[in-house]
């Protein structure tokens, strides 16, 4: 019952925070913290050491005690401990006040701080594409309205360039975001070399993630264009609903959309986090990834679960190696092409939704990728 209440509380707060772009930063940060927990949980499971439950294993050490439960929205994850520090008489007043604030608002601060870092990094690699889309759309229709046949190519070429940049960004983004969430270091987001290595460690899970984004994108596209039918039904002829009923739908619809976006956004990011954790662990285990390239915080987690030991590389003759290499390369190319197509289709969903229900701001925020907020 307690867990159910906690779930309802955390879910409800998340949904409400998805209603505005500023509060959606908190949701991104909260999701980042949930990603960290999911990745660590995946390592715990992969370690095979199930003698201790995940909660017990995390609670055993001060450093990981905060991962026992899902992240809080406002109060600190170590609320009681921090609050008791605030009331410890031996400490100076200024420090006690700081503890008090940390206890009451610790998670809020963490959510905002991590959320802002993650949003900034995400914007750096995706906003150029989004801006090109916006400009391409504007230029294309402006030209079409004015019948500027002479420069008719500008709009489509600008928008397609945006699509190409977006595809490149999205091939990197999910794992990079997961890594930033786990490590808490914004620079780790830009470790393109590791990102490339992780992609080479098995592309199928990455393709699976693209498929999930496409399916989720379909639902979000549906939510984006639904007001076209709903709003006009409300304003239909003859009027089908009372004014009160119509107002209820108008007020309730954004909340329903926020619920959908929050659920899908968190689910997709948790899948990405688990995907990242498994690749790291399996890459080290089969000797294709060195633990040396990881950050200390990652190594600490992996050490703790005994996941830094590599298997001895199997010596195979040159023919077997050649065949294996050729097969893997071909497979990699095929999966890469599929991913490019998938992310291209994902961006097409936005164009389709914008075609039916346009909003300039919607070009600048994909609610499953950047901030979990639908303009």
């Amino acid at each position: 019952m307690r867990r159910l209440l906690a779930f309802v509380w955390k879910f409800s707060i998340g949904v409400v925070l998805c209603l505005t772009p500023v509060t959606a930063i908190l949701v991104l940060g909260w999701t980042g913290r949930a990603m960290r927990r999911t990745a660590v949980k995946a390592w715990h499971r992969q370690s095979g050491n199930t003698a201790k439950s995940f909660a017990a294993a995390m609670a055993a050490q001060e450093e990981t005690a905060h991962l026992v439960k899902w992240p809080n929205w406002i109060i600190s994850q170590r609320f009681s401990g921090t609050l008791s520090q605030a009331f410890a008489p031996a400490k100076p007043v200024r420090r006690r006040i700081r503890y008090l604030f940390a206890a009451l608002l610790g998670s809020l601060r963490e959510n905002f701080s991590l959320g802002l870092q993650m949003a900034l990094n995400c914007w750096v690699i995706t906003l150029p594409a989004c801006l090109l889309w916006l400009l391409g759309w504007w230029a294309g229709w402006e030209n079409s309205f004015n019948k500027g046949y002479e420069q008719a190519w500008v709009g489509p070429v600008t928008a397609l360039t945006g699509v190409a940049i977006f595809i490149a960004a999205m091939i990197h983004l999910p794992l990079a975001q997961a890594r930033q969430a786990v490590t808490g270091h914004w620079r780790s987001f830009y470790d393109f070399s590791l990102s490339h290595q992780l992609r080479r460690l098995g592309r199928l899970p990455a393709l699976w993630l693209v498929v999930l984004y496409l399916v989720a994108g379909l639902l979000v596209t549906g939510a984006k264009i639904a007001p076209l039918g709903i709003g006009n039904y409300i304003d239909g002829l003859p009027q089908p609903l009372s004014d009160g009923q119509a107002e209820l739908i108008r007020m309730g619809w954004p909340l329903a959309v926020a619920g959908l976006v929050f659920t899908l956004f968190v689910a997709l990011h948790l899948v990405a986090a688990r995907h990242y954790a498994r690749k790291i662990a399996s890459g080290i285990a089969n000797g294709r990834l060195s633990a040396e390239v990881l950050l200390p915080v990652e190594r600490r987690f992996l050490d703790r679960f005994g996941l830094t030991k590599s298997a001895e590389p199997v010596q195979r003759n040159i023919i077997v190696r050649s065949v294996a290499w050729s097969g893997a390369s071909l497979g990699s190319v095929a999966v890469l092409l599929a991913m490019i197509t998938g992310w291209g289709a994902f961006s097409f969903q936005l164009f389709f939704a914008q075609f039916l229900n346009h909003s300039w701001v919607a070009w600048l925020n994909l609610s499953l990728v950047q901030l979990p907020w639908m303009p």
């Binding site: 076209l228 709003g231 002829l237």
Partner: protein, 407 residues
Amino acid sequence: MLLVDFCHGFQAEGQIMASMINRRELNKGVLTLGLSAGLGVLGSRTACSKAAYSGPNVIIVRFGGGVRRRETIEPETTYSPYLAHVLAKRGTLFNNMMISSQEGVVTSHSQGTLYILTGRYDRYEDVEGRILSDRFEPKSPTLFEYLRKSHAIPDHQALIVNGEDRISEDYLNFSENHNYGIEYRSSVMSLHWYKIWLLREQLKGDLDAAAREELSKQLAEREARNYRGELAGDQGPAMEGFWQRWRRHYGDSGFVNPRGDRLLTELSIRAIRELRPRLMMINYQDPDYVHWGNLSHYTRGISIIDNGLQQLVATVENDPEYRGNTVFVIVPDCGRDDNTMMDIACQHHFNSRSAHQIWALMFGPGIARNTVVDKRVDQVSIAATIGQLMGVRTRHAEGPPLAEAFA
């Protein structure tokens, strides 16, 4: 006048008889003995010489692409100041005109154009049932057919002026009603038709094989847009002369002439000067660009039409034969949504109340001045009203004439 009425009487009987005849058989001339009496009546129709038209000229302006009352006729919020502040005072404004909400009625451009032209809310579907395609065939006679059947008016003086975005609307110029049809069609003036004429002209010239192939391909593509049959692809010598003069002025490139709805104004003004139309419909459409998210395209489109109205009225007033003898009928094809759940509230395909709410403004000789009628009237009444103005019986039109408009 008596002669005209006499002929009308025979035509009415002829229509009844002809409706009993399979159209294909009639076209092939396969006649049976049992129908000989009816054909006798039909024959007598052709024997009647048509009366010369002496009524007022009528210019129908489709304030098209779908517009709301708020941005057009409401003085506080209008983007069409000439219409709302000047023209409204010169005529009768029906500010509560509606498009019916009966089943099968669609608030869109081609459908609205046909409701205006035929005076009926017929149900329309694409000729081949294609989804999202609007290649329609008017089911009932259009105003042009009524006029040309009863009066000696050549097709180039019964004129539709179209834009280039909706080529299918170029083929709405005659109905499939077997008593009317292609024989009484209107001419259509648009860049699509100019390009067809131009390509045919260019192909008459001395061209290398590659250029000939390219031009032939372009022509074939354009001709393939004709879904009404071979005859619908012809334009008479008057229209060809018009295009020759257009070509001399604007050349072949298409980059010199006005574009968008300004082009329609230019075509219409030239048509008034050169072809002297008695009934002309100008199908403006650019406010419809708001579909794709730029609200200024809607308001700019309205302003451009407003400016076009100013030029058209000036052209008419500067022409001795048109001044004092021309009635303007301005009416939108449909309204637009007022959807508070969307950033751009202005679609029109979803049967919203606002998409059904339109208006009409009429001014000219015989029309009451400075009159606002706020009782509910219907878009299909436009045809009957114009019919009454021109002295033409629009026997298939549903709506009663807008009696309040007549002075």
